[in-house]
Symmetry: C2
Subunit: 732 residues, 2 copies
Amino acid sequence: MHDLDALLQPRSIAVIGASTQPDKVGGMPIRLLRELGYPGRIYPVHRDAGEIQGLRAYPSLAAIGVPVDLAIVAVPAAAALDVMAQLGQAGVRAAVYFTSGFAETGGADDDAQGAQDARGARLQQALARAAQAHGVLLLGPNCLGAMNLRERVFATFSPVPLAGVPPVGDVALVSQSGAFGAYAFALAREAGLGLSHWVTTGNEAGLQLADVIAWLARDDATRVILVYMEGCRDGARLRGALAAARAAGKPVVVAKVGVTAAGARSAQSHTASLTGEDAVYQAVFDEYNVHRADTLEAFFRLGYVLSRGRRPARWSSPAGLAAGAVAPLAIVTVSGGVGIMMADSAERLGVPLPPMPPEAARALREAIPFASTANPIDVTGQIMAQPAVLLGALEAVADSPAYGCVAAFLAGGLNSPRLWSGLQQSVAALQARGGAPLLLSGLVDDDKRAWLEARGCLVFREPAHAVEAVVTLARAAALEALEALEAGGHGAMPEATSLPALPALPDDAAALSEFEALRLLSAAGVPVAAHGLADDADEAAAIAAQIGFPVAVKLCSREVLHKSDVGGVVLGVADADGVRAAFAQARAALARCRDASGRPPRFEGVLVARMVRGRGELMVGVRRDPVFGPVALAGIGGTAVEVLRQTAFGLAPLSPARARDMLARSRAAALCESHRGHAPLDLDAIAEVLVRVSHCAVALGERLDTLEINPFIIGADGLCAADAVITLRPPA
Amino acid sequence: MHDLDALLQPRSIAVIGASTQPDKVGGMPIRLLRELGYPGRIYPVHRDAGEIQGLRAYPSLAAIGVPVDLAIVAVPAAAALDVMAQLGQAGVRAAVYFTSGFAETGGADDDAQGAQDARGARLQQALARAAQAHGVLLLGPNCLGAMNLRERVFATFSPVPLAGVPPVGDVALVSQSGAFGAYAFALAREAGLGLSHWVTTGNEAGLQLADVIAWLARDDATRVILVYMEGCRDGARLRGALAAARAAGKPVVVAKVGVTAAGARSAQSHTASLTGEDAVYQAVFDEYNVHRADTLEAFFRLGYVLSRGRRPARWSSPAGLAAGAVAPLAIVTVSGGVGIMMADSAERLGVPLPPMPPEAARALREAIPFASTANPIDVTGQIMAQPAVLLGALEAVADSPAYGCVAAFLAGGLNSPRLWSGLQQSVAALQARGGAPLLLSGLVDDDKRAWLEARGCLVFREPAHAVEAVVTLARAAALEALEALEAGGHGAMPEATSLPALPALPDDAAALSEFEALRLLSAAGVPVAAHGLADDADEAAAIAAQIGFPVAVKLCSREVLHKSDVGGVVLGVADADGVRAAFAQARAALARCRDASGRPPRFEGVLVARMVRGRGELMVGVRRDPVFGPVALAGIGGTAVEVLRQTAFGLAPLSPARARDMLARSRAAALCESHRGHAPLDLDAIAEVLVRVSHCAVALGERLDTLEINPFIIGADGLCAADAVITLRPPA
């Protein structure tokens, strides 16, 4: 855990490479700090100049003579290491390196640059090592710096604050990209979104996004953390930071780019970061209830909603996960048509629309006979003449235990003086007594909007955005109550899935044989098809007779994982003679194989297993992500539906709720529903298998590479793994 | 085809029920017409008042003494019919009825209102008949009226124009909802979107949305038609209007609400309109290349893009349909991160990102060595110091034949004086020589935005919206070239699928037997499983021997459609004895059935058919929509994938391109791809079957109710219908 106080709350700042020209990289931070009112000491460092932008300049850090918290470094790359040594000697605690010419030069798509590129990356490694050796907290290099709006710290060379600074607020913005950060700063200013901190991490030789998130999670001035991310090199660090934010009940909103193949290609060519598979990132975000934005508009809207919106007291999470939380919604509208649009949005998002309480419905119908008292509640344009009726309906639903949120479309009504004064009273009263939060949409003047927002009452131009805010706020409410909601899902394994000791892994193998894999899974409590390992044809026939026909006969070897491809599998063998013939065929298949030394692999036996049929087949497994470690996956298996497969990912180990959610997202849960006269299957039993598989993978530790059960048969008679592959990494 | 000239371009307007109070329903139109400068004559009609709002008032229509084009009617429902008679006598050509209390009262959810509700609906029918009898074009009742912004016609009682009128432009807005229309008007004003006409149709006793769309399709002042729709009662009229707009090359944007079950429920309780199944509406929109918006924001953005955006000269339509058109895109960005976000958007939308032409890439790299010349093209923030490099890159890609559009993210750069003057020259030059349209994103002052938009250069705050505009503009370009693109797809049936004469339908049956259905499909050129109809067990055995074993033996009756449910189907019969036993079973199953008179249905024979296996099963059919007529559907069939089924809809008859598109959308096309070592299947052959089925249904005419082939087997050996049901409606 890094202490970013010296970076974000420095009492004094030195600028190394200070410029007399206020618009140069080394001049801009001095200009910003002075013009925008930084209250601490500023020490320009310049070899010759006695004065810079009206401040006394110093020929060296040492010449300052007092300790400095933060150094802003704007020198060429060639001088970067020298400066770091001076920082260390002077006891500077933190440094922002604007300097470019490091690992980012490797992003160019021209091979002639090869030698130059490698030099940049090596220089960056040296800088990182020097910072660590000198105990200097390093932001950058190749970054646009950082700001703390409350404390007027502007450690950046971006001119964007010159055009104005957003209000001080509780939203922090962290970005790996400087240009993105600068544009986001401008958009926050335009939208009047209150910011606490603004940090760009650049090449991340020292501080990473994760370190900033972890610090913000403990910062009292920050309530919401907006993150722009291109990639992550240290999965554990990011997970720790997101866990800290979750534990603090602070929502995190991520714009993670490089989602698609095209995006990932350009991300890789653009930065020094690794971009992994998006589905794995999504599993991380799911685990820590991170809100995700695909567009800048959604990024800022989520920040606005989470920063300003009052949380609903009533919400539910059918999936048992904060990410699945919704609040029951009352839609109140002056336009039937817009109400229907909002109902469409609610249904798409899974937001329930319970009917209006009968008494409130009666009161509304008495006042306005043409009003519709279903939900959406259409108060009609008539309420412009009878504003008290609208306010009565709003308060009635906001006070009703049936609803968690109220979304009201008022068209231009907010600017009507008669409606406005009454609405102010209603909003204040509802806030005071903890009624459901109001999410308004329509046209409104800026001063009225500010008045409403100060009371946790959000206003949108787009009615659909008010409905989306219901989901966002329900998730935030669930996050704050998270310990209760997801208890047992993290850390400790639920009792029902505690694992006994597993067989030890062979040191010298790159994979287990199918027999070993099934034995290990069976030990972990995963149901497997009845089977036995035969050394000769007679033993195979005896095992088959014991299991019952028909059986599958399969070559079993640590070195032949794709046994079907070499003719090593015979399915549906109906009698003892067939088993003997199949045994011979499997042995012959092995004899045709070659290991690394060019010889056939050692004979380990032939597996005889029961043929199992079911209503459907799943693919269940775990694989090691290079950044985030073991990731569980589940999806529908089998040939016929292969083309329709949707694989769901989740961080291992899984909680039962997370496992159920994966089955739902992969549509595997749909196989369990009753159809064509079949009784429904027990989804919880399948989820428990997923949980056990995920815990099994975690218990295997660093050795595990991949674990795949395919097919995992689900049927009315039970569940069972019909084939399994486990591959291993060399011992550490 | 209605002539709406008198409604939308009246030379004189009478206001029946005129009020001296300018804010009353009968006073507001007079106020608006006078204050906003209507140039024609205004005749207030009032029994007593000699003067209204400074105008001479008339005691009756007759007293005016000269012909009047348009009457605005603001009288109570009880007087509505009398007024219509007077309009007829005075020769008034068109009337806008604001009056409420008609069919919309049936929307209330209180049964006590029943009698009142029926009265409203009857009154509306009488009003519609009277309007027709008198030759008066009727808008409404229960509508907010109409406006023509160019000719300053404000035939509405909505006060919304008092706060300002949008600029005169080429976007027309038609809405079934008055409140929606008023809010949309205000949003258009806020966004500066130029409008030509604004029409709300209310209860549609006379004019429907479709009539207004058809008139606008011929109106020279209108280029884009925005439509808010809750439902449609007359499918043929709507199809005709959309066809007229398509033929005129005018894009139509529809916000159709009631999409989800919740939305449809509230739509039904809210209006007097029928709301049908959304998938059928979507098929209609697909057929006529209608752009669809789910939110108000998207609705207006589509209007903006289609109204102001220059069309790309280079686009392609891989699906052979205007709706699938895309333009190859060059992304130019000052921020690598935002560029990646845009690349993600492009990939999601299927927009290709071809690489930068080598020469342009070389020039860029020479000027800015760190620039990325992949696509996204990252010119970096450095271009603020070297604007000529950005402009060179923009012009190079806009002139390159590789691209149809250029989307450039410039952050705050548009407001930089050095960049702006150069950009103006580039934009003007590109427009003059027909380079690819520029879609800019970033912050920009209003005057600069207006300058750019006047030259077909769009500007967005949200970079993802610039990428979405590429698809929108490519569709618009394809629409304008539609005759060439979709030639043969509409109207005349393509030669390859011309049908021979089909067997006549029985007059007295509600369904065909499976034998009859297969015969009919076979006559239409649809491949069916080899089969025969047996009267006795020996004949069944003989047919089976001729076909080859195994066979399916099925009860065949016009009156027993669900023959599996009564034990009338035996599959996989392996020999002649089995066939005889199965025949007996099918006969016995029939004997247990009862028809409407309580007796077993007549024996029509037993079907013996070849058992067919394939790589997959489809469900292919046609069903009659009550509003839009025959609609074709296709989806993946079979038990295992039933839970994953996505059915695609298309208006019958289908073009081959539309049929291929349905197979793609239903994921059925994925079954045809090569996987697990199987060779790919011929998608075009399956599409031809869909086309034949759809033409067959159309040829059957009004008698056809539903036609369903399930399963339709697709395999490497060929295609064949293994079962078919055809149900009929009574003869007219």
